[in-house]
C-alpha cells in the first residue's frame, strides 16, 4: 500500500505542491441582521463544495421557508446548528465553518448580528486574521458597521474586507458602491486600519464570492472574495522574542527532563541562552525534542519539548524566554477588557486570570468604558456585560506579559469567576503600569506641563495612547487666564 501511494504521489506532484501550502486562514464575518451573512457563508460553503447533497436534503425535509427559486438550500437553516435556535429563528452563539479553495483552507467564525453581539464577536475575533464586514448596498454604512469594525480592531484584526452585498438590488450601481467603499475606508482609517478591500457582491446570486461577477459588473476589475482570502496575510509571532510558556514537565525517566509547550513567540535553536521567568534563572538550550526527530530549530506555533543544559527548577506556568528580549514582569498591568458574563466585571471581586499556561489571582480595577456609538472612552468603575473598557490589573505574585499589540499569545488572558468557574472576561495587555502610587513618588523624573483648549484635551484623553498612560498623567481644569499665569510662574 505504501509503495502504491508513493507512485500516485509522483504522478501528480503539481496539485499536491499547490494545495494547502499555508496555514488555515481564520476569519470572522460581521453584519447586522438581514445583511445577508447566512447567505454569504452558505454561498461560500456551497460554491467551494463544502456542503454535501445529503446535508441539503436534510434541509429540504425540514420543509420550512424555501430560500428562493435558484434551487439552492436555505442557507440560514443549513448554518443554524442548534435546535432551540432554529425554532426561534436566531443564531445566538459562535459557530465555526470550514471550507477550502484550491490554494488554502479557511475557518470562519460565524457570529450573530443582533444586539448582544459583543461577547460573541469578541470570541470569534480573538483568533481571526481577517474580518469580513457586510453591508447592505441599499443602506450602506450603519452605526453597527462602526461597532463591528471597532471590536474587530480592538481584538487585533488589521485586515478588513468590506462586502457591499445585495448589489443586484441597486442595479449594480458603481457610483453607489464607490461611495460606500470610500466612506468605509475613512472609518477604517480612523481606527488605524489601512488594509481594506471593498468588493461589490451578490451573495444570493454568487457574484464575486467564489466566482467572478463580471457579467453584471464589468466595471469591477478587482478580485472575488475567495481570491482576496487566498492572498490574505497571517499575523505571525515569529519576529518577536522567543517565548515558551511551560505546559508540563516531562520526566519519563531519571535521565530525561523536558519542558513541554507551544512556542508563543520568536524562534529557538540549540545553544540559545534563555531566561526562566519569574525566577530569573539563566540556562542554555540543549535540545529540541519532538516525536519525529531531534530538531535544529523551532518557531512560533510549534509544539515542542525543550531540554536545557543544566538542572533548573521549572514548573507549569513558568515561561522560558529569550535572554535579551524577555517579556515584562510586574505586579501591575494596564489592559483592555471585554466583559462576557451577565454580572460584568467589578473591582470588588478577586478573579483567576489565565494567560498561556499561567493562572494566578488578580484584582481588577476598571478605569474607562468604551461607548461603541461614539467611539469615546468614558470614566467608569465597573464593566457591564458586553462592556469594553480599560482596567488596571493588580497581582499578588509576579505576572508575565507582552503587549497584545506585539504578541497575541502572551498578551491575551481570560478572567475566571472563582465562585462559578465561568469565563467572565477576555483581556488584552496594553502595558505594564508605572508606579501605581502616583506621580509624587517619582521625583527624579522630569515632567512637562501642557496647556491646551479643553475640547482638544478631551479628544486627546480619549485616544488609546493617552488611556494607556493614564496612571502617569495629572489633569486639572482651569480658566485660560489662570493657566497662562501658572505657566508664566514656571518660566
Amino acid at each position: 500500500m505504501n509503495i502504491n501511494a508513493e507512485v500516485v504521489e509522483q504522478a501528480k506532484p503539481a496539485i499536491d505542491a499547490d494545495t494547502r501550502n499555508a496555514r488555515p486562514l481564520r476569519l470572522i464575518t460581521c453584519g447586522s441582521v438581514d445583511d445577508g451573512k447566512s447567505t454569504l457563508i452558505g454561498r461560500l460553503l456551497w460554491d467551494t463544495k463544502a456542503v454535501k447533497e445529503d446535508q441539503a436534503d436534510a434541509l429540504a425535509r425540514d420543509n420550512r421557508n424555501q430560500q428562493n427559486g435558484l434551487g439552492l438550500p436555505d442557507f440560514a437553516l443549513l448554518l443554524d446548528g442548534l435546535q432551540a435556535e432554529r425554532e426561534q429563528g436566531i443564531t445566538i452563539d459562535v459557530a465555526y465553518r470550514y471550507f477550502s479553495s484550491e490554494k488554502r483552507s479557511f475557518i470562519v467564525a460565524d457570529t450573530p448580528g443582533h444586539e448582544q453581539y459583543t461577547r460573541n464577536m469578541a470570541t470569534g475575533a480573538s483568533t481571526a486574521d481577517l474580518a469580513i464586514l457586510l453591508v447592505d448596498a441599499r443602506t450602506g454604512i450603519l452605526e453597527q458597521t462602526r461597532r463591528h469594525a471597532t471590536i474587530a480592531t480592538l481584538m487585533g484584526i488589521r485586515q478588513f474586507v468590506l462586502a457591499v452585498n445585495k448589489i443586484d438590488l441597486i442595479d449594480y450601481d458603481r457610483l453607489r458602491f464607490d461611495e460606500i467603499a470610500t466612506q468605509f475606508r475613512q472609518l477604517a482609517l480612523s481606527l488605524g486600519v489601512t488594509d481594506v478591500t471593498a468588493i461589490p457582491m451578490s451573495a444570493l446570486l454568487g457574484e464575486n464570492v467564489v466566482y467572478s461577477g463580471k457579467t453584471n459588473m464589468p466595471w469591477y476589475v478587482g478580485k472575488s472574495l475567495v481570491e482576496v482570502l487566498e492572498l490574505a496575510t497571517q499575523r505571525s509571532a515569529q519576529t518577536v522574542g522567543f517565548r515558551l510558556p511551560v505546559q508540563r514537565v516531562s520526566r519519563p525517566n531519571e535521565g530525561f527532563r523536558g519542558y513541554q509547550g507551544t512556542v508563543a513567540g520568536g524562534s529557538v535553536k540549540p545553544g540559545d541562552s534563555v531566561v526562566i521567568l519569574p525566577s530569573g534563572t539563566v540556562a542554555n538550550v540543549k535540545q529540541i525534542v519532538t516525536f519525529d526527530l531531534v530538531r535544529n530549530a523551532a518557531v512560533a506555533g510549534d509544539a515542542i519539548t525543550l531540554v536545557l543544559d543544566r538542572p533548573v527548577d521549572i514548573a507549569r506556568g513558568d515561561m522560558i524566554a529569550s535572554i535579551d528580549a524577555a517579556p515584562a514582569s510586574g505586579l501591575s498591568f494596564e489592559a483592555k477588557l471585554v466583559a462576557l458574563a451577565p454580572d460584568g466585571v467589578s473591582a470588588q471581586k478577586r478573579y483567576w486570570l489565565k494567560s498561556s499556561s499561567r493562572r494566578q489571582r488578580v484584582r481588577v480595577n476598571p478605569k474607562t468604558l468604551l461607548d461603541l456609538k461614539s467611539g469615546q472612552w468614558n470614566d467608569a468603575d465597573a464593566l457591564p456585560l458586553n462592556g469594553i473598557g480599560t482596567v488596571q490589573l493588580a497581582f499578588d505574585e509576579e505576572a508575565l506579559f507582552d503587549p497584545y499589540e506585539t504578541n497575541r499569545n502572551t498578551g491575551a488572558f481570560i478572567l475566571i469567576d472563582p465562585d462559578t468557574n465561568n469565563t467572565v472576561a477576555g483581556g488584552m495587555i496594553v502595558a505594564r503600569s508605572a508606579a501605581v502610587d502616583g506621580l509624587s513618588s517619582d521625583d527624579g523624573l522630569d515632567q512637562t506641563l501642557l496647556s491646551l483648549p479643553s475640547d482638544l484635551a478631551k479628544k486627546l484623553m480619549q485616544s488609546d495612547v493617552f488611556k494607556a498612560m493614564r496612571e502617569q498623567i495629572e489633569i486639572r481644569h482651569t480658566s485660560a487666564n489662570r493657566a497662562s499665569s501658572i505657566l508664566r510662574e514656571l518660566d
Binding site: 500500500m1 502504491n4 501511494a5 500516485v8 494547502r20 501550502n21 496555514r23 488555515p24 463544502a50 454535501k52 447533497e53 445529503d54 446535508q55 436534510a58 425535509r61 425540514d62 448554518l79 446548528g81 442548534l82 435546535q83 432551540a84 445566538i92 452563539d93 459557530a95 465555526y96 465553518r97 477550502s100 483552507s105 475557518i107 460565524d110 460573541n120 469578541a122 470570541t123 480573538s126 483568533t127 505546559q247 508540563r248 516531562s250 519519563p252 523536558g258 513541554q260 509547550g261 507551544t262 519532538t290 516525536f291 519525529d292 526527530l293 506555533g301 510549534d302 509544539a303 519539548t305 462576557l340 489565565k354 499556561s357 491575551a412 481570560i414 475566571i416 468557574n421 465561568n422 469565563t423
Partner: protein
C-alpha cells in the same frame, strides 16, 4: 520514526500543533483524564497525536472504548493489535444492563439501542473511572450542532451538555476550572476536516482499520443502506440477497447501523481523491443522524459524545 519522512505541510502542521497543545493542557490541568477511543480513523489520528504530545513519555492516561458488542469484528481485532503494539492502557466498557436485556439494533431500533448501548454506556464508563476530562475525536465540520461546540466542552455531573450555556472560549486560553463531579470533554480535532484527517493519516503513515479501503465484501441493501453481511447475527430479511460488492466505509460504528459506500478507492490517495469530489457528507451512512432533524443535538444534550 523514519528519517526520510517529508515535513508536514503548514496546514497539517498547524492543526497538529494545536491538537498537541490541547492534549498537554488537559493532561496538566485535570486529575483524571481519559481518552475516548472508538477505533475509527479519527480515533487513530487522536491516538497518534497523543503519542506525539507526550513523547518521550508514555500517554499519561487510559483509553476508554465503549464496546456496544455490535462493532465490526475487524475493529475489535485492530483495537487489540494497537493495544499490544503501543502498550496502551485500555479500558473496554459494555453496558451490562443492555446485554442482560438483549438490547440490539434489530430488536430495539437504532434510537433506543444507541441511547442504551452508547450514551448510557458512556456515562457508566466515565462514572466508573471518575474521569474529570475525556478527550474525543469529534470535528466541528461533521455535523451542524458540533459547529458550535467548544474545544473544552463543559458537562454537568450527569454529563449533560447545555448548548445555550457554554463558556466563551477566546484565543487558545482554555478554562479548565470545574467543581467536583463536573467534567470537560476536550476535542483536539475540532478544527480538522475529513480531508485533513486523511491527508494526515497518509503523511504520518498512521495505521487504520482495513474496512476504510475498498474491497469486495458481502453486503445486503436495507433501508437504502449497504450493510456488511459478514456477521452471523445479521439475518437477511425476506427479499434481501447477499451480494459481493466493491465497497468501503467512510465512518465505522456498529455494523448494523453503518452503511458502506460503493467505492474503488483502495489506497489513501484514492480515498482523498474520492473525498474531494464527494457530493455527500460522511455522516450520510449513519442511521443515528437520520432519525429526525436535530437528532445529534438531542443525543449530545443527553450525554452522547
Amino acid at each position: 520514526m523514519s528519517e526520510t519522512k517529508p515535513p508536514l505541510d503548514p496546514n497539517l502542521k498547524a492543526l497538529e500543533s494545536e491538537a498537541i497543545h490541547i492534549f498537554r493542557e488537559v493532561a496538566a490541568e485535570f486529575e483524571r483524564p481519559v481518552m475516548l477511543y472508538s477505533v475509527g480513523k479519527d480515533s487513530s489520528v487522536l491516538l497518534h497525536l497523543a503519542r506525539k504530545a507526550f513523547y518521550p513519555g508514555k500517554i499519561p492516561f487510559p483509553l476508554l472504548h465503549i464496546d456496544t458488542g455490535w462493532k465490526f469484528a475487524e475493529m475489535i481485532a485492530f483495537r487489540d493489535h494497537m493495544v499490544e503494539q503501543f502498550d496502551l492502557d485500555l479500558v473496554a466498557h459494555t453496558n451490562a444492563r443492555g446485554v442482560l436485556e438483549n438490547v440490539s439494533p434489530f430488536t430495539h431500533g437504532s434510537s433506543v439501542y444507541t441511547n442504551i448501548m452508547k450514551t448510557e454506556a458512556l456515562r457508566q464508563g466515565l462514572d466508573a473511572g471518575q474521569y474529570d476530562a475525556a478527550f474525543g475525536g469529534a470535528r466541528r465540520d461533521e455535523e451542524a450542532s458540533r459547529a458550535k461546540e467548544r474545544i473544552y466542552s463543559f458537562r454537568t455531573p450527569d454529563h449533560r451538555w447545555d448548548p445555550r450555556n457554554q463558556r466563551p472560549e477566546l484565543w487558545s486560553v482554555y478554562n479548565g476550572m470545574i467543581k467536583k463531579g463536573e467534567s470537560v470533554r476536550a476535542f483536539p480535532l475540532s478544527n480538522w476536516t475529513e480531508v485533513d484527517i486523511w491527508r494526515y493519516i497518509k503523511a504520518e503513515n498512521i495505521p487504520i482499520v482495513p474496512l476504510y479501503f475498498a474491497a469486495r465484501r458481502p453486503v445486503v441493501e436495507r433501508d437504502g443502506m449497504l450493510i456488511l453481511a459478514e456477521d452471523k447475527r445479521l439475518k437477511p430479511l425476506p427479499g434481501e440477497v447477499v451480494q459481493q460488492q466493491m465497497i468501503r466505509f467512510r465512518t465505522l460504528g456498529c455494523f448494523p447501523l453503518t452503511g458502506a459506500i460503493r467505492s474503488e478507492a483502495t489506497t489513501l490517495d484514492e480515498i482523498i481523491d474520492e473525498l474531494e469530489t464527494a457530493t455527500v457528507s460522511e455522516r450520510q451512512g449513519r442511521a443515528i443522524d437520520r432519525d429526525e432533524a436535530g437528532s445529534m443535538e438531542k443525543k449530545k444534550r443527553e450525554g452522547y459524545f
